[in-house]
Symmetry: C2
Subunit: 419 residues, 2 copies
Amino acid sequence: MTKTRAGGVTNFDAWKHAYAARAENLAVSEVRALFSVVSRPEVVSLAGGMPDVAALDVNLIDKAYASLMANRRNYALQYGGGQGDLRLREQIQEIMALEGIHGSVDDITVTTGSQHALELISDLFLDQGDVVLVEAPSYVGAVGIFRHKEAQIEHVFTDHDGISPEALEETAERLLSEGKRIKILYLVPNFANPSGVTLTAERRIQVLEICKRYGILIVEDNPYGQLYFDQKPPKAMRSLDEENIVYLGSFSKILSPGLRVGYVLAPPAIREKLVLANESAILSPASFAQMLVSEYLSVADWQQQIESFRQLYKAKRDAAMQAVEQYLPKVATTRPAGGFFLWLTLPEGLNSKEMLPLAVTELVAYTPGTAFYGDGRGQENIRVCFSHPTADNVKVGIERLSRVVNQQIELIETFGKVD
Amino acid sequence: MTKTRAGGVTNFDAWKHAYAARAENLAVSEVRALFSVVSRPEVVSLAGGMPDVAALDVNLIDKAYASLMANRRNYALQYGGGQGDLRLREQIQEIMALEGIHGSVDDITVTTGSQHALELISDLFLDQGDVVLVEAPSYVGAVGIFRHKEAQIEHVFTDHDGISPEALEETAERLLSEGKRIKILYLVPNFANPSGVTLTAERRIQVLEICKRYGILIVEDNPYGQLYFDQKPPKAMRSLDEENIVYLGSFSKILSPGLRVGYVLAPPAIREKLVLANESAILSPASFAQMLVSEYLSVADWQQQIESFRQLYKAKRDAAMQAVEQYLPKVATTRPAGGFFLWLTLPEGLNSKEMLPLAVTELVAYTPGTAFYGDGRGQENIRVCFSHPTADNVKVGIERLSRVVNQQIELIETFGKVD
């Protein structure tokens, strides 16, 4: 048998014949592949998607830890139940009430970040060839999961008011007429990743009605809902319906992603299966992280902490918008009312993926729009994440980006697009 | 559409038609279902499989936390890489060296407990109908994963020296002649869960040779290896071969399962896919838990802590063995040289699963042997977990168990087996 060198570059895979069919669908995420670049201190990263954890009041974590060790130490260090800590689920109930949701603690399952909730839901529902409808563009981590499950990913036209109900209906009709099974509509209705747009209240009702009519399960992913800049977004879709929606929430953006604590609220029959799937995959969600979050929610003024995040990210959003206006006059952008992201549209002929190496030589990183499509679209788009750098560095990053973009625009205006 | 009541007992599932085929294979684990019983304080639980976390020196956790927050706070609170923290992987390398393993940090992936490593490996390799070979009996959590992947589970004869090489070869020949694809041999070579037996050094070599010959990937799961009572077990199988073995390790039994930190050492090509699968499922392993473990390994005398666990569990093993000898003279038991479990064999005609409700009325819980088989076997077996109760309570529990068992034996001796 050919010898592979441990830790070395792989040029031979002795097990290539043995992988499951679905393993072929694991691809290096364009976002994750940027991590090595991003970690160089001289590069301003507008890539990531990371919260500004340095802005978290660390004394609150210390207080939470002290309370945890004083009161629940041996539970925190031990295995727990597959559904998650009851006290934390009660607190999650209160947090969801801020989004207009009234759900039972019995129907909440705590997960390893909301990413794992989406993984478990997808695993429960998606057979090979099943269709998942998503926004255009959609969250890269969701697209990756659906691809891994061998699902067919269909992007539905999305504008500044979120996903289009008319396009949703047309897409559903077309796919059903082709004999497809449409299982899931996956949505980030508030301050979407990557577009930054928010689904209007009116469209939420329309989208729900359409999905009910076609028997499509809605997966409503809401990591950014509390990070609004001026006014609250419309109530969660889950506040309108409890039977046709699986709702995902997370502590990653309002506390810390390093804890990996998210949650899912699902109709009882689905929730029963979710708990079993969670147990099968990881035995039980991490007691220590769950209980640390629970103590934090108990001892800290967490709503005030969120308010300070709102102000912080709003200032960064403003810095980003101003810089785009100033340095990228020929580039269109969304204007997010919350969350972490601007979605830029470049003039025709520019290719954000091909441009990325040039940007990195100018010491700025971003995520090309193609990462957020399952079908190769997004070449003219850039996701700018303004949440992690300082406001000043957001400006610096966009100014650096503009050198590359404006140079490319000039080239095309002078010579036309080179194919 | 029929209305379901949030949080209520489910008698109707509106989404029953929509589940993926594999979702049908999620079953309530017989072990996990015991959790509600186990939590009643008057019940002595010999079920579980839980370490005695109260015996962990809590000052060491405090020191690790303080060091973490002083030195790596913003990294610990942030997303990390999909492969896991490099410093922790270097420390894992040292821990694996205690088992005779010399692997590259590049080939280690940190996972959400070793359970998730097994889930990811299984997802990478198992198509529907593929065969997984396991010990007889085998770890319930592994059997659950393989069933969920729609694999065919084949138990291979196992005795006091571990899995039988002759039986392994016969089973492989038989299955191949039936046209089956055998993908994986899953093993717990040291102080196995549930049997407590250890695979001899000689058999390790033979099993490896057989698997190489038939192209079967070995998944070597070693959560208990450092918890030996007298002498070290043989070196890990991974110390003999780096190409045909995926090695799983965990901090659950030598530190805390509530942190959910495990790891997997895999050949480079498999490891590349594992990292992608890990990212797809959870984005990145929890930075906070990983770095807390890393600080613990850095600031604490963790080898001394493990030594004190060895003494603790040895005393509990002795208490369990004495109690079985004293109270259950007609019951056979394995004699584990480490780990958490005794495996009891009841006299013919007794059924451990049917007996469980009687045992619970006597205020003792255990896991019936059927949990550890995918084929209904194990009715005459009981797994006794001695690691979690005090040594005194281990004795009390076995004495209570003996009332039920000996009464059943008398009934059968008097009236014969009632079918």
